[in-house]
């Protein structure tokens, strides 16, 4: 019972895949989100348009469809490019799309759009006078961003980042459909083999709940840290 009919170690490995996948895609999403927010705040209309198109398209299409499109379509797209390379320049390479990597890229790409919206709002919420003051102190733009704009922006962005992270965590379950051995896939395989859905699915659900609860606690602490000087962390409410 306790070793899950021999599936215990694989379930544990699957849990590790889920956590790694979620954390790596979070990094991709945050970087993409910052880029998107800058694009949407850019005075250049072309860059602004690209940012808006990206967030609108991604947020209008189901995660699963995007995942299938990028995973299956991406492989064919890469093959077409490498074929062209072969015909044109006689360069013979073969790139096989790795399921884990494509999972990270896809989830990062999807949540980059959501993060972009979060960061855009947060950047706009920082008072312009703060940056003027930083400039008056003689800070260069990089230092002003690091010491003044970023920390204050984070106070406004944290609740949104927290929500996005919770949704992202649950979205990782979808990679089991495109063949990645995360814990949902292991549990689904085990269920099909043993016909005991409750034995496998409930522990997996419990792990998701555990991660969600831990991250909620972590975000509450971060919120406290970033609202130093603003009294109670009133912005954080689930």
């Amino acid at each position: 019972m306790i070793n899950f009919q021999g599936y215990g170690p694989r379930l544990l490995e699957g849990a590790l895949v889920t956590v790694e996948l979620a954390l790596l895609s979070l990094v991709v999403a945050v970087v993409l989100g910052l880029l998107t927010a800058s694009a949407k705040l850019s005075p250049n209309r072309l860059i602004h348009g690209i940012g808006t198109l990206y967030t609108t398209l991604i947020r209008g299409v189901p995660d699963l469809v995007l995942m299938l499109l990028l995973f299956y379509g991406g492989q064919i797209g890469i093959n077409m490019v490498t074929d062209q390379l072969y015909y044109a320049f006689d360069i013979d390479i073969f790139i096989n799309v790795n399921a884990f990597l494509s999972g990270v890229i896809t989830i990062g790409l999807i949540f980059g759009a959501y993060m972009g919206e979060t960061f855009r709002g947060a950047f706009q919420a920082v008072d312009e006078g703060q940056m003027e003051a930083a400039r008056a102190y003689g800070m260069n733009p990089l230092m002003a961003f690091r010491r003044v704009r970023f920390p204050q922006m984070m106070r406004h962005a944290l609740p949104g980042i927290g929500n996005n992270w919770m949704v992202l965590l649950k979205t990782t379950a979808l990679v089991s459909i495109i063949g990645l051995s995360d814990m949902v896939r292991v549990a689904a395989e085990a269920t099909k083999a043993t016909h005991e859905p409750f034995l496998f699915m409930i522990p997996v659900a419990a792990i998701y709940l555990l991660i969600a609860t831990l991250s909620e606690w972590g975000f509450a602490r971060l919120a406290k840290r970033y609202s130093t000087g603003f009294g109670e962390s009133s912005e954080w409410n689930n």
Binding site: L57, R59, G60, V61, P62, D63, L64, V65, L66, L68, L69, Y72, G73, Q75, I76, G77, M166, K170, T171, T172, A173, L174, S176, I177, V184, A187, A188, T191, H195, P197, F198, M201, I202, V204, A205, Y208, L209, A212, T213
Partner: protein, 243 residues
């Protein structure tokens, strides 16, 4: 009509994938998706209204079980909930011998149950938040009129809470439309299921999935448009004058 038909045939003549046959698949998928999402949303609201009222109750044995329910269903992936219902439904004793089996041996109803439970959990929290944010003055005024608690709930709190919940509920509707794509995993031929079939049949992932992405995009925009209109109508009294 004949002209339209000829134009249509011309349009489709150029490619091998989007024949009338595969478009029929997409159409059936669209119908299934819309049915599934619409039914689960309606059932979800029916469940969520009493749950949201109970969630704000002072009695712990009413409040905490509801909180636990929403916490669990909002904290775990819909895919797992779907698997649990889909594979778990046979474990109810005697269901395979009862008349219900005719219903439950198809994948549609287990999926509907899982989706309903999921959306009801989110909707409960949305309504609960809206009820909690009712202006104190509205309640005081209702009490001053001598309204009983149920009457106050029905005439004052719920109508104003529904209005305030509208934008968040619009997001939930779109979220549910997108989440319903996982139904294709348990053999339901919804939109995504149709696209997967076309992909497998022609090995044309790009065409198959981008076409379905466009359909989802149109659905999303229509829902957004409807909710904008509805908000404009129902929240008209909150807009500044002459704006």
């Amino acid at each position: 009509m004949e002209q339209l038909n000829a134009w249509f045939t011309d349009l489709l003549a150029g490619n091998a994938i989007f024949t009338a046959n595969t478009l029929g698949f997409y159409w059936d998928g669209l119908v299934t998706t819309v049915q599934l999402v619409f039914l689960c949303l309606v059932l979800g609201i029916v469940l969520a209204v009493p749950l949201a009222i109970g969630r704000g109750s002072k009695r712990p044995w009413i409040k905490w079980p509801i909180y636990l329910y929403t916490y669990v269903f909002r904290g775990t992936p819909l895919l797992i909930q779907l698997y649990l219902v889909y594979y778990g439904v046979v474990f109810f004793d005697g269901i395979q011998d009862s008349i219900f089996w005719v219903v439950f041996k198809q994948a549609f109803y287990p999926a509907l149950i899982a989706f309903t439970l999921n959306t009801a959990a989110y909707t409960t929290e949305i309504f609960h938040g809206a009820i909690k944010n009712t202006a104190k003055g509205e309640i005081e005024a209702a009490r001053a009129y001598g309204m009983s608690k149920p009457l106050m709930m029905r005439r004052i709190i719920l109508p104003s809470a529904f209005r305030r919940a509208l934008p968040a509920y619009g997001n939930e509707v779109i979220f549910m439309l997108h989440a319903s794509a996982v139904a294709s995993v348990v053999t339901i031929m919804d939109l995504t299921g149709a696209a997967s079939y076309v992909y497998a049949r022609f090995y044309a992932p790009f065409a198959a999935f981008s076409f379905v992405a466009v359909i989802y995009l149109c659905l999303t925009f229509s829902i957004m448009f409807c909710f904008r209109k509805l908000e404009k109508r129902l929240l008209a009294h909150l807009r500044p004058r002459g704006a």
